[in-house]
């Protein structure tokens, strides 16, 4: 398969991106991928200093968003912890610290939807510090289990689950 950019070299990078809700395929050679500043998931070799403008196509995306274009607030958006501005972030495609996620939160969900097709984490939660999220997830699971038991008329087991849910709920509220 030839590279879709130059049509000369064979394509060695194959991936999709979600742009305006549409899945778009990319088949690029290494040279054109670098030239485009494309960041290929799973390829760790591109440098952070090699500024990946256009990486996430933030500019293009927000140009279509009238709120963002006119918003002076966006221009001045800055992470209070590390000092990175939103416009720096959109140029280099990297956060400066974990608080950037909070500081830029209003702007990030469209980006996450573009890259991942989702905006909310569903995976692993840290055992020690995962805290309330872990408990909430456990409660959800126990509730489902409880309704299954009730349907099967296993009331004794359902009662035990109800007590555990109550304990967890107290832990959550405390």
């Amino acid at each position: 398969m030839q590279c879709q950019e130059c049509g000369k070299r064979p394509a060695t990078l194959h991936y999709t991106k979600i742009i305006n809700g549409e899945k778009t395929e990319f088949h690029l050679c290494e040279v054109c991928a670098k030239g485009k500043g494309e960041q290929m998931p799973g390829v760790e070799s591109f440098s952070i200093h090699n500024l990946l403008s256009g990486l996430l196509n933030l500019d293009g995306q927000f140009a279509e968003d009238p709120n963002a274009r006119s918003s002076v607030a966006t221009q001045g958006l800055r992470c209070p912890t590390c000092g990175l501005t939103y416009s720096q972030f959109s140029k280099i495609g990297r956060f400066g610290c974990s608080d950037c996620y909070q500081a830029f939160s209003d702007r990030l969900d469209p980006l996450f939807r573009r890259v991942h097709g989702h905006t909310t984490h569903r995976g692993k939660v840290p055992e020690r510090t995962g805290g309330k999220l872990r408990i909430r997830r456990e409660i959800d699971e126990l509730k489902q289990e409880m309704s299954r038991r009730i349907e099967n008329e296993e009331f004794e087991e359902a009662a035990r689950l109800r007590d555990r849910i109550r304990d967890l709920q107290e832990k959550l509220d405390s």
Binding site: T12, H14, H27, G42, L56, R94, S98, H118
Partner: protein
């Protein structure tokens, strides 16, 4: 620091050519990205903050009840290595070029068997990588998951309820997981079926890339398939989807091999034995030609056409003939021409040694 140890064992376990479905799958890798809470990511961390992160990981590793695989593990600082030594670690897929070349206070923790490498101060504070031979993405994930749990007892991660593990690049946020499988697809390449296969794979949200593209080509018909999405899916789902797609690729490759064997065995044998002849006799060989010939010979081994070689021939030689290895072995810097000569010599020597020992 006994870097010598790693140099002496030039080859990691994943190159031995053992492991499930190793006729087509070279290796399976899972890496997870983690950052410590309360510290800027490596791009913005000060020198003393970065040095502090290495110390924290080092201290964590001294705690009791280390996962068994980490017994005897070693922390190696990039600043303590020569350029060539770093290059060899990159060529063995144990560290990234970025860690080798650009990190400040970059370091790697290597397990004795080199199945685990933990990069410190790469793009994220910590990247836990588990590399298994053959088709074992599940096993690689389990090990990475365990190591992660163990670290988390001693280190506090940057984590948010909605965005999961917070990473420097938004493409890694959520699970921070990148699972990849390296596959050898010579028959699909010969029958020009990759053109149809790759778009199908990208359609389900996985990415494919040729490896060992010096410049622009996928050399040796080796491809890496990996997940793109890290946020909004569970780790197990991500691994299962990847595994499912790779299983189908394996089937297609088997199908293509059978068809070639039935329809044009003589031509195939000719190609394989020619490549074997060239590798056994050439005096000068470029890395591009070497990879292509190795791919042919490897296919010949898989199809039982070359009984005096084992499957590891390609896995080992593709690493041993990389520039870093060749230069380390001859203990000097070599220009491209000299490398091509050394490469040919190295391959001849390796093949004659293998033939004698079988």
């Amino acid at each position: 620091m006994s870097y010598q140890r790693f140099n002496q064992h030039a080859l990691s376990e994943w190159m031995r050519g053992k492991g499930p479905r190793s006729d087509i799958v070279i290796s399976s890798r899972v890496r997870i990205a983690r950052n410590l809470s309360g510290l800027p990511f490596p791009m913005l961390a000060t020198s003393s903050q970065s040095a502090g992160i290495v110390r924290k990981v080092e201290e964590a590793l001294r705690h009791q009840n280390r996962p068994q695989v980490m017994e005897g593990a070693e922390l190696i600082r990039m600043d303590d290595l020569e350029d060539l030594e770093k290059r060899v670690l990159v060529e063995k897929h144990l560290i990234s070029p970025q860690l080798a070349e650009e990190s400040r206070h970059g370091a790697v923790v290597l397990s004795r068997n080199e199945a685990v490498s933990i990069m410190i101060n790469e793009e994220d504070h910590i990247r836990i990588q588990c590399l298994f031979p053959g088709f074992q993405p599940q096993e690689a994930w389990k090990m990475a998951d365990n190591l992660d749990d163990w670290f988390e007892r001693h280190l506090t991660y940057a984590f948010s309820e909605t965005k999961g593990y917070l990473t420097s690049c938004p493409t890694n946020a959520g699970t921070g997981i990148r699972a990849s499988v390296m596959v050898h697809l010579p028959a699909l390449a010969m029958t020009q079926q990759l053109n149809r296969l790759f778009p199908a794979i990208t359609q389900v949200g996985l990415a494919v890339r040729g490896i060992y593209g010096e410049g622009s080509e996928a050399l040796g018909n080796l491809y890496q398939v990996s997940n793109q999405v890290t946020l909004g899916q569970q780790e197990e789902e991500i691994i299962q989807k990847l595994a499912g797609v790779v299983r189908q690729m394996i089937q297609h490759e088997h199908g293509a091999r059978n068809r070639i064997q039935e329809s044009s065995l003589t031509k195939l044998e000719d190609r394989i034995y020619r490549s074997y002849g060239i590798l056994s006799n050439a005096r000068v060989i470029s890395s591009k030609e070497a990879m292509q010939r190795l791919s042919d010979v490897r296919l010949g081994v898989d199809m039982g056409l070359i009984p005096d070689l084992s499957a590891q021939v390609m896995n080992e030689l593709m690493i041993l003939t990389q520039p870093g290895f060749l230069q380390t072995r001859s203990k000097q810097r070599l220009d491209i021409e000299e490398r091509d000569i050394r490469r040919a010599g190295m391959i001849r020597e390796y093949l004659s040694m293998k033939r004698e020992s079988e």
